[in-house]
């Protein structure tokens, strides 16, 4: 049997494709199958395999695909393209998509190692700081100096509480 895609090479990969309610038998040669499935060609780097994993294993809901982090502004799509998260709260905001990915990459999704002594106490303040800093950058860009001064004061007062810990 010839490959349905290139019609030249012998089909060696056979599978059933389901699209909506439609079932379809597909017969492809290895080369076309690799191309179509987005599988990496031989001899790829860890990063390439990894970015591929992200695409394969997060069959996210439409909602997640539109999600962006309110603190750092990173969107889920942006994370999928770059493979790097934007801030600590992304782990919570994108949890639905991240949990299956972490399951694949690691041994479970529950941390069992070392815990910092002050864990958790400052998370909310940290999120606030990241958000305020972003607003500050924006205010400076728009030359809204009064607003910027106000934001800077709030950041400084939050920094003060951190040092008092």
């Amino acid at each position: 049997m010839k490959c349905q895609s290139c019609n030249k090479r012998e089909a060696t990969v056979h599978f059933t494709d389901i699209e909506g309610d439609e079932k379809k038998e597909v017969h492809l040669c290895e080369e076309c199958a690799r191309e179509k499935s987005g599988m990496p060609p031989k001899g790829v780097t860890l990063e390439e395999i990894f970015s591929n994993l992200i695409q394969q294993h997060s069959k996210e809901s439409a909602k997640l695909l539109k999600t962006a982090c309110p603190n750092c502004g990173m969107s889920y799509i942006e994370f999928k393209a770059g493979g790097r998260l934007g801030c600590a709260s992304d782990y919570v905001v994108f949890e639905e998509g991240l949990a299956p990915l972490l399951e694949r990459l690691h041994q479970g999704t529950q941390h069992v190692g070392k815990t910092p002594s002050r864990a958790g106490a400052d998370v909310r303040r940290g999120n606030e700081m990241i958000r305020l800093r972003r607003e500050l950058d924006r205010a400076v860009q728009r030359e809204e100096y009064e607003k910027a001064a106000e934001l800077r004061d709030r950041i400084q007062s939050l920094t003060g509480t951190a040092n008092a810990d």
Binding site: N71, Y91, V92, H111, V112, P116, G120, V123, G126
Partner: protein, 360 residues
């Protein structure tokens, strides 16, 4: 401490001491940490970058470590100096070629280094000569605990230490053991090692870590899983696997010696001979020959060559090191001449002078 002063000697992890130092060059552990008050590096604005570096730098220099730390800002450092730090394994290649405010702190022995504004806010590593993972972890754990008192680490009860890349989340820990495996390479058994360690979630990497090629028969074996296992379990998985690789390499060496003794002796002596007489030599060839000589020393074929000298050549003959030693920029071809001179001088100093006479 000035950078150029470092060029004449190597870090302590190259002294060739510690357990199984004939095969294990070094034991290294790194931790990735971020702090809560700033976004991760991909979302840090240029202004915040400087602020973040200043904060981290201040805290790093305030902790009480056995040996004083030197901090270098990389933004103002020339390219050759950054490459120099990569060659010494004090910073990553990505950190050298990155942009903006970022830096590294390290101690004089070069057994501790802490990068700021790398892929994560903090990347700290501890490195020791030989197969000494427990000691290496103790030292690093201590530094991490001290920094934790000064900084609010980004941490989540389920996901652990939060990192920019999900591959590092949890413990943020990478354990890497650098191995010299000339016999497994020449008997073509290395693939078996790669496959066997993959089954227990370990991975074989090149000389400078992820995505780099192995050269001169030097390989790093490290963990991949960082979440769902405690630090000590991760270390144990590497601790259990490495002795098997060591035994495998030793057996391969024994077999080589039993079956091809004359050939091996010839290969080792030729490698040594070339290093002692060459007038121009590339870093690739140097590494390849050093590998042979290193094996020759451990097989008792070369008796008067000091392991520390051989290990040090491994770093001191790299391009940025030669240029720092010469105190100027040198083109690759001239570098090969400088390198050959340097190797001859080093080897002449390390063994008895009688053998050296014909060379003068």
């Amino acid at each position: 401490m000035q950078i150029s002063k470092l060029a004449t000697r190597a870090g302590e992890w190259l002294k060739g001491e510690g357990r199984d130092a004939d095969i294990v060059v070094s034991s290294r552990i790194r931790l990735a940490r971020n702090i809560t008050d700033f976004p991760f590096m991909s979302k840090v604005s240029p202004g915040q970058r400087g602020e973040l570096e200043q904060l981290l730098r201040g805290k790093i220099l305030s902790i009480d470590v056995p040996r004083e730390l030197l901090y270098l800002g990389l933004a103002e450092l020339p390219g050759v100096d950054r490459l120099f730090l990569v060659e010494r394994h004090l910073i990553s290649r990505e950190h050298a070629s990155g942009e903006g405010e970022r830096g590294v702190a390290f101690d004089e022995a070069e057994s501790l280094s802490i990068m700021t504004n790398e892929e994560d806010h903090l990347r700290m590593q501890s490195i020791r000569s030989g197969f000494e993972l427990e000691q290496t972890w103790q030292a690093l754990d201590h530094v991490d605990t001290m920094l934790e008192k000064e900084l609010n680490y980004a941490f989540h009860s389920r996901f652990g230490y939060l990192t920019a890349c999900p591959t590092n989340v949890g413990t943020g820990m990478r354990v890497s053991v650098m191995l010299h495996l000339p016999a497994l390479v020449s008997t073509r058994h290395l693939d078996k090692v790669v496959n066997a360690v993959a089954k227990i979630n370990l991975v074989v990497r090149g000389l400078y870590g992820e995505g780099t090629e192995a050269s001169g028969d030097f390989y790093q074996i490290s963990n991949q899983v960082t979440l769902g296992k405690a630090e000590t379990d991760i270390i144990d998985s590497v601790l259990n696997a490495i002795p098997r690789v060591i035994t495998y390499e030793r057996k391969a060496r024994e077999t080589l010696m039993a079956e091809n003794r004359k050939q091996i002796e010839d290969r080792v002596w030729r490698a040594y001979g070339i290093l002692k007489v060459a007038r121009s030599i590339s870093s690739e060839e140097t590494l390849h020959l050093i590998s042979q000589v290193r094996m020759g020393v451990h097989l008792g074929i070369l008796k008067n060559v000091d392991l520390k000298t051989v290990n040090e050549l491994f770093v001191l003959t790299l391009p940025a090191h030669l240029q720092k030693l010469a105190g100027r920029e040198i083109e690759p071809e001239e570098r090969n001449v400088e390198r050959a001179d340097f190797v001859r001088r080093k080897l002449a100093g390390s063994q008895d002078l009688q053998e050296e006479k014909p060379d003068v």
